[in-house]
Symmetry: C2
Subunit: 285 residues, 2 copies
């Protein structure tokens, strides 16, 4: 059910919001894009890139009459933005977001949003180490995966609309319960990110390591170069799943530590062999 929207409101015109605006425009799926930001400068950049047609500092004003509203702020602000727009949002508007954590946001929407529920959480797994509207790219979502949060309460036509516009901008849709989504990404993304940060920190503390830094270290710590606020928000909004994964990780690390301490050759070989198989399983190979 691809449809053309007269008015789309994008709250937060950074890389993800700006790219979505450009993508919808490039595919002729939207008349007017309204951008909401808290800094005139970002809005000006998004306007000059052609991502948005109108700039707003007041979110309530920006959502009036909109058919599709996409909250593209950092994860930690999504719940607040939903509260801010609830009273001025048209009842028929479809609302989604792009945050990397879904359980807290979806639960909040389910409890606060009018029925039939026209909020559907999204997690587009796209992005880069760049950020800001200056890097917005109409093809950012091409070939990526967008996870859509499935809820028993969501209005079917709202789900259809959210599925359709992500598909139109190039994403493959995966539907997941928000709690399961958060548990899985804790293991495939959030805890790996925390580990990358720890490994970078440990290496730097060892002193002058640069001569013995290889490609493996570079690859493993690359994500440590991303935005601190983004990862702070992820830790704050996916607390329980991250703690559960960290505990599982520490348990596994303790097992490996014992084998290293005891010089348990066969056990270590088996551990590394299983890890190679586990990676292939995780990648679906």
């Amino acid at each position: 059910v691809t449809r053309r929207f007269e008015v789309v409101t994008i709250i937060g015109v950074g890389l993800l919001g700006g790219s979505l605006a450009l993508a919808l425009k490039a595919r002729g799926l939207v008349g007017t894009v309204r951008g909401v930001g808290h800094r005139r400068s970002s809005l000006a950049v998004a306007e000059s890139k052609g991502a948005i047609d109108e700039s707003f500092l007041d979110v309530g004003e920006a959502v009036r009459g909109a058919e599709l509203i996409v909250v593209c702020t950092p994860a930690g602000l999504v719940v607040d933005k939903l509260d801010e727009i609830r009273s001025s949002c048209p009842p028929e508007a479809v609302v989604t977001d792009v945050a990397s954590t879904k359980a807290v946001i979806c639960a909040h929407a389910e409890h606060t949003w009018p029925r039939p529920l026209r909020f559907v959480g999204s997690h587009p797994m796209a992005g880069s180490d760049k950020f800001g509207p200056e890097h917005a790219d109409p093809d950012l979502y091409c070939g990526s995966v967008t996870v859509i949060s499935v809820s028993n309460h969501a209005a079917p036509e709202a789900l259809d609309i959210v599925r359709a516009f992500w598909t139109e901008v190039g994403a493959r849709i995966v539907e997941l319960d928000p709690i399961l989504h958060d548990a899985l990404v804790a293991r495939t993304s959030h805890v790996p990110h925390i580990m990358a940060a720890c490994l970078a920190e440990l290496a730097a503390r060892a002193g002058h390591v640069e001569p013995v830094v290889g490609q493996g270290f570079r690859d493993m710590t690359r994500v440590a170069a991303s935005r601190p606020e983004l990862w702070r928000d992820i830790c704050l909004t996916n607390r329980d799943a991250i703690l559960e994964s960290l505990d599982a990780l520490e348990e596994l690390l303790d097992e490996v530590r014992s084998m290293v301490a005891e010089g348990a050759g066969p056990g270590l070989e088996e551990f590394f062999r299983c890890a190679g198989l586990a990676r292939r399983k995780a990648l679906g190979e």
Copy 2:
């Protein structure tokens, strides 16, 4: 002091040994390369690739009359190979190895090798996820770093010869005390590798994670696909430095865990910010 060797013996003709043989030949630095293996099939592959001229199953026989002997077996076997060749090795032969851990091997050589000490440990930081003589490449070492273990006992001309041939095959030389080397690579390579293995294992245990696996996870776990025996040997031969690094890692993880549990936003943001800076410091940027 680049010199041409009449006879070089390579013990272990896998990727590293085979590539070194090809590299020496391609640069006209050697007359005859003798290859030692415990399987006729690997030796046959190395011969057919043109890496070696003569094949030996008996290591004592292979080192007789050699001017340069390079032990290219897995790290766990280097000490045994040194013991095996000591009595048949010509007193003027220069001996080195290619293992990723240096303290145990260099200490053993210092204690057992005749004086003036003509054993000099090497750690060429080259390689790939491929292995075996069939992937041997004369340019494997081009642009890589080889760490040479500095010892007060090493004969200066032996050090010069080892420096010179690695430089000739394209490596940049870094000289490090073997204990310091092991402490640094524990943090930049060994513990990151153990972490990659743990992350792959944790993700696979979470069930069907493939839809939410992104490039970050792929990059962070790539090294988990390497050879289990290699990493078993590294854990066995760099035990103390790995344990020290694992302890430092667990301490740091505990700090992060507490911040996640407490929802300590500013602390988490600061942690991620410092990690980004730490990575740049570690990479020498």
